[in-house]
Symmetry: none
Subunit: 132 residues, 4 copies
DNA sequence: GTGGTCTAGACCACC
DNA sequence: GTGGTCTAGACCACG
């Protein structure tokens, strides 16, 4: 697993890490039961403080995506949450509105948005094959 | 124009205001030349500090979405920016990836995502007719 | 609100803080919407690092007991969670088993356990009147 | 004797083992003089490191619940401790407060708590008959 | 002044 | 080695 963070980005570092992990799960590059790099190891890769990575792991654990076992490591949860249809639905709606309004402001048509979406779908799963 | 803000949300209040204004422009509820409520007026509506609204207006002005005319008020810019294709493109890609991974994690199919997107498109423009 | 922590206790400090807050809510000494001391303030009272208090607040927020508003403070959640009957039920069962086995090992009868429980009930709500 | 451990639980594994043994003693499933499985045997059953089981046995021995006889094995102590009334009393009080506040937060009435407590009492002794 | 984030470093508990 | 906790101090974003 390879991650990229941008320390100057608009998202806090720990949220960038969270997002990349959830995207890796969504894209199939991380599967239930897989072991993640220790937060110390990953912190070296990313050149950030260990606590910063740990915070990302902790939040994802609270959300049900990860599980940790003392002394053994951190793993992708075996039973990924299908949480709170209502709340989840809201977030997805918001993500969709966000995508559309940005696209329209940039002058894109609906058909362009669909193209962007398809490209994103390919990106999400691309590394899977490449790494296999 | 009616706005909704959530003081406990993860986004800063001034960013929630910015987003709603840009979405209103994207959805056609605000058009080039339209006059916005003064930041004092809007701050009363939303029950937030006037400085918070002012900051949202200032940032949108810096981005080219709004124009202020001393003593007359704040208006939607006549020449909306088509800024920085590269940067814009990246943001849209990211928004698309974000939408897709959230949807996949919630167990939705690609066809579901399309439905969500269509609904979001209708939402974005719905108030236009209702308010007209 | 007055808290007591024991830095040498078997529970981590942040968990002692969490427990005292949830007990205060259960006992009615903290009500929905009440403002808590800022994490900095409380950290001075308890003579612990601010981050330690913040961690307690963060976890309670993730659990739905607290809500924070940037720049304004941290509040008892208006809609306290009635979460996950199953999981909650398990925890309560475990707390009950724990109480009983400790009591039996100490040689108490069932009737003694009931007395202890009644006393605990009075303790939980006692400060409410005293502080009022 | 059958034990259940949860490697992802919030309690360390050795404490989960300790608790289950003391609960078995409290519930009468283990009596003074009974022989326990060797720590190697038990470690295989539970799929944990032998050192982890040994630590649980050692701690219970230090507390006076178990006795080891070189070359013969580990046994439930003939004279179970009635230790430190004061400290024990405190712990029981705390367990009671913990039970009550969790129950109240889940919306249970006092009468519900009593039902839970009775059920826990039955659970604690149930396996006794089944295994006999 | 409030919360939000990050760092560097420490010590412990566990496996 | 792993995660778990804590500290002291820093800077920023927000209201």
């Amino acid at each position: 697993m390879q991650f990229q963070i941008n320390p100057a980005g608009e998202l806090p570092i720990y949220r960038q890490i969270m997002r990349q992990i959830t995207e890796a799960i969504a894209g199939g590059r991380l599967k239930a039961g897989d072991k993640l790099a220790s937060h110390r190891e990953l912190s070296e890769q990313l050149v950030v403080a260990p606590l910063t990575v740990k915070k990302a792991y902790d939040e994802l654990e609270a959300l049900g995506y990860l599980e940790t076992q003392r002394g053994r490591g951190t793993f992708v949860s075996e039973r990924l949450p299908k949480p709170d249809r209502a709340r989840q639905g809201e977030q997805i709606q918001e993500a969709a509105r966000n995508l559309l309004s940005q696209a329209y402001l940039a002058g894109l048509e609906y058909s362009d948005v669909l193209k962007v979406l398809e490209k994103a779908g390919r990106d999400l799963t691309a590394l899977k094959e490449r790494e296999a």
